[in-house]
């Protein structure tokens, strides 16, 4: 079963007297641990696709399922297994990186100490242990991406949605970040949906798709071999 499945999703917006079609009959399936990158130009419908996949917006037509459940009817506990990252509008909660990462855990009934331990572990996984106690104002863009990623994985989500992870990051730091996201997705079996601007790097993506004027082009479903290959997570397996 796919973790995320969009079936014939369409979305239109009304702007004054014009009707803009953001998504035209888009279908997409993402399996366990798979990294799918959707590239496209500015008004290609990328952000709309992400918001709909995250359940933040409803499609006009079509259906979105998350681990088999219609996202509209999904209970909160299930929705919490979707992590949405958008570094452009990052609300910097907390005094330092550690607290920022631990924040989503405060809502869950675990102790503050336990939350801090898990946050530290997440920061270690993304290679940001050394900046655990730096304040948000000191973070450079690539650190923001790492910290956002840590905050997303601290809740152990099934689905990670990341809007333009390398936006604003220095050229030489982009590919290592994308490979980090891929490694974590493969290791933990997190279905991952990324977007990339027109010319942004697509390194680390298992599948690359293109949104062109609201139409999704490319391999919209994983090949059978990929589904088997990405079954999570054999101990010590790394891609």
């Amino acid at each position: 079963m796919s973790v995320l499945s969009l079936e014939n999703v369409s979305k239109r917006f009304r702007r004054r007297h014009r009707e803009l079609v953001a998504l035209r009959n888009v279908s997409l399936e993402i399996g366990n641990g798979e990294v799918v990158c959707v590239s496209g130009g500015r008004s290609s419908g990328r952000s709309t696709l992400l918001r709909i996949a995250a359940g933040e917006e409803q499609p006009d037509e079509g259906r979105v399922r998350f681990v088999g459940t219609d996202l509209r009817a999904a209970p909160d506990a299930l929705r919490k297994q979707i992590a949405f990252c958008n570094t452009r509008y990052l609300p910097a909660h907390g005094r330092d990186a550690c607290e920022h990462v631990a924040m989503p855990l405060f809502a869950v009934s675990i102790s503050r100490d336990e939350a801090a331990v898990r946050a530290h572990r997440a920061l270690e996984r993304v290679g940001a242990a050394d900046i655990a106690f730096t304040p948000p104002a000191a973070w450079i863009p690539s650190e923001v991406v790492r910290i956002s990623l840590a905050r997303a994985i601290v809740r152990e989500p099934r689905l990670l949605i990341f809007d333009e992870p390398t936006n604003g990051v220095d050229a030489l730091e982009r590919d290592p970040l994308l490979l980090l996201i891929q490694r974590i997705a493969h290791e933990s079996g997190i279905a991952t949906l990324l977007t990339a601007g027109d010319t942004a790097s697509v390194t680390g993506a298992d599948r690359v798709l293109r949104l062109s004027d609201g139409e999704l082009l490319g391999r919209t479903a994983p090949a059978a071999a990929e589904v088997v290959a990405l079954r999570p997570p054999a101990a010590g397996s790394a891609s």
Binding site: S39, D198, V202, A205, D206, V208, S212, D213, E215, L217
Partner: protein, 197 residues
């Protein structure tokens, strides 16, 4: 047969298509080719290649010298091809017109080259719906290539430079496909009425 091996079939088709639009001299054809399909950089088609295409097409009876020019030339017609092609106009023979028609009507290969796509777009070898399908298929080929590039490990500086070059080239092509699809969604030039003064 001289130089046929290195001749791109797409260059021949482009030359044939341009001559179908109107008879041309060799050098005029070079200029028209550049205007229509970009310069030698884009297609790696040099003027020499265009003269070679002319020679090939003539040898195969797909084009011939324009009758008027033939008469004007009279007996003094130089036998050397390169001498003639610079001064004389060529037109498409009945056989050439048929060959072009057949090629335009034939189904496209599953992964057409960019040149082939451009020729089809230029000479309207298909209705908009077919062209859209064609462009989408072309996009799929580019995306498959992009996936291959994404999976290439680049450990050294040189590997990274090469990878980045290939990636950006393929993505530029995808941007062009975005543009082309948007164009095909809009009205055709021919249907846009010029502004009346």
């Amino acid at each position: 047969m001289v130089g046929n091996a290195e001749l791109k079939p797409s260059a021949r088709l482009a030359v044939l298509g341009l001559l179908l639009e109107r008879p041309s001299w060799g050098y005029e054809l070079v200029a028209r080719f550049e205007r229509s399909f970009g310069g030698p950089y884009e297609w790696s088609v040099t003027p020499t290649a265009i003269y070679q295409a002319l020679r090939h097409l003539e040898q195969n009876g797909l084009i011939r010298l324009h009758p008027n020019d033939d008469e004007a030339e009279g007996e003094g017609e130089p036998s050397d091809f390169s001498q003639r092609s610079k001064r004389q106009r060529y037109r498409v023979s009945g056989e050439g017109a048929r060959a072009m028609r057949e090629w335009l009507a034939a189904p496209m290969p599953s992964s057409p080259s960019q040149e082939e796509l451009l020729i089809r777009l230029r000479f309207r070898g298909a209705d908009d719906e077919t062209l859209r399908a064609l462009l989408k298929r072309h996009a799929e080929v580019c995306l498959a290539e992009l996936e291959r590039i994404a999976a290439v490990p680049a450990h050294t500086r040189m590997e990274r430079l090469v990878k980045e070059d290939r990636r950006l080239a393929v993505q530029a092509r995808l941007s062009w496909i975005d543009f082309a699809l948007a164009e095909l969604r809009g009205p055709d030039d021919a249907r846009i009425r010029p502004i009346e003064r």
